[in-house]
């Protein structure tokens, strides 16, 4: 593990700034589009527009945890601390987006089907996901030594590998109330795609900033 850490490079900070500006622009645009551009859905009314936050959040969550998985493998094979930092930062952001999914889901369920929680398989899987990755952070926070990185990486791999099985189990366990692959067309589809892009850029911007923090933290520790 002989690398010089120094402080975050200028190009990193610049990238962060650019991404945040882009994120701001795109998110604003997606909110405008959701409010004004996309039509109101016939059956569920204006509340349906929550989908433009709910679905992108779900997708970003999975991307985030997938990144944690990949970065964990990278750390275990290369032993470079950067990969562990990426894994942890990505996991943190994944938790944020998962929380958004778990809040918007019940809100939607309440107005659409008049019940807060329906044990709907996808939402239930997300709940389990949330608990799992919360465990990742609790474990990581409890370890203060060199083993933290290895243990976190192993966890990052093990948890992600479990996801398909958990998904399948919950799906079998409960039939689906969730609108199954509703095909969107026209303005709705465009708004959804815009929202996905917006929240993904937001995720990237947040990741860059979060990593900058890790970079500084590591540099301080190295110098002591």
């Amino acid at each position: 593990m002989n690398e010089s850490t120094a402080t975050p490079a200028r190009w990193w900070n610049a990238t962060g700034r650019v991404l945040w500006l882009l994120a701001l622009a795109l998110v604003s645009a997606s909110w405008w589009a959701a409010a004004a551009y996309a039509p109101v859905e016939a059956q569920m009314g204006p509340v349906q527009k929550i989908v433009y936050v709910h679905v992108p959040s779900a997708i970003v969550t999975l991307i985030a945890f997938g990144l944690t998985f990949a970065a964990s493998i990278a750390f275990l094979t290369t032993k470079q601390w950067r990969w562990d930092a990426i894994a942890a930062a990505s996991c943190e952001l994944g938790m944020v987006f998962a929380t958004v999914v778990l809040i918007t889901g019940p809100l939607w369920a309440r107005s659409a089907w008049n019940t807060w929680w329906t044990w709907e398989p996808r939402l239930t899987s997300f709940l389990i996901l949330w608990i799992l990755y919360a465990g990742y952070h609790v474990v990581r926070g409890s370890l203060h030594s060199a083993s933290r990185r290895t243990v976190s990486s192993v966890l990052g791999i093990v948890l992600f590998v479990n996801l398909p099985i958990v998904w399948k189990s919950v799906e079998w366990w409960r039939g689906s109330l969730h609108p199954r692959n509703v095909t969107m067309t026209g303005e709705m589809r465009e708004t959804l795609l815009l929202s996905m892009a917006a929240w993904f850029v937001f995720f990237a911007a947040a990741l860059v900033s979060r990593l900058r923090l890790e970079w500084i933290r590591e540099a301080v520790a190295e110098r002591a």
């Binding site: 474990v139 060199a146 290895t150 192993v154 479990n162 099985i165 399948k168």
Partner: protein, 223 residues
């Protein structure tokens, strides 16, 4: 053979610790009692309620057992001595898994008759298949549990963390176990829920396979 030596060593240590065994078995029995009181006195669907009770009790008993196995290694540094022998880490993992599986099997053997009696379910005809289902579930539990317990070593509030980490990973095993047990006790056959057996087997294999890659890393993750 390392696998057998490790398993025997763990089981011997458990067998000599009467206090731990008594706690484990009493705790499991109490859980069954508490849940039957919660569901009773008239059981609307005894097969289902009994199945749920059985596997809930086993889950928590398992956490206790796994944590105890872990503590035995840390007590006087025995775990480090094992590392120093240069023995193959995967064999060590398998040995510990076997020991944990045996411990869980003992708890199962105790809790099953109690649940059967309290809920008035089960019969000898379905017993062999039930034992087979239980073996599948408990093997997966032992494997994943041993893996997670090793990760949690050295952490404060180990039991809490272990439950949090373990439960979601055990979802397929536990849902499968409850469904199969319920099917056996309600209908006498496992046919309608056969797919779950496959899923449980996949979960078992996955746990054992992941450990082959990861256990050595976990073992060597030093301070």
């Amino acid at each position: 053979m390392t696998l057998i030596d490790v398993a025997v060593k763990d089981l011997r240590l458990h067998a000599r610790d009467a206090r731990f065994l008594a706690t484990l078995l009493l705790f499991s029995a109490s859980l069954v009692l508490i849940l039957s009181v919660a569901f009773g006195p008239i059981f609307r669907e005894p097969a289902r309620e009994a199945a749920a009770t059985l596997w809930a009790a086993l889950f928590f008993a398992g956490v206790l057992g796994l944590t105890r196995s872990l503590d035995l290694e840390g007590e006087a540094g025995g775990g480090d001595a094992v590392r120093l022998t240069g023995a193959d880490p995967y064999s060590i993992f398998l040995g510990k898994t076997l020991a944990n599986f045996t411990l869980l099997a003992v708890v199962f053997a105790l809790v099953l008759p109690i649940a059967s009696v309290f809920f008035d379910v089960g019969d000898l005809r379905t017993l062999p298949i039930l034992v087979g289902v239980a073996a599948l579930a408990l093997l997966g539990y032992a494997a994943w549990g041993t893996l997670f317990a090793a990760l949690a070593r050295g952490l404060k509030a180990r039991e809490l963390l272990l439950s949090v980490l373990l439960f979601p990973s055990l979802v397929p095993l536990w849902i499968g176990a409850v469904k199969c047990t319920h099917a056996l006790w309600a209908g006498g056959s496992i046919e309608p829920v056969r797919d779950w057996i496959k899923l449980m087997a996949v979960a078992d294999v996955l746990g054992l396979a992941l450990a082959a890659f990861l256990y050595e890393l976990i073992q060597e993750a030093s301070e």
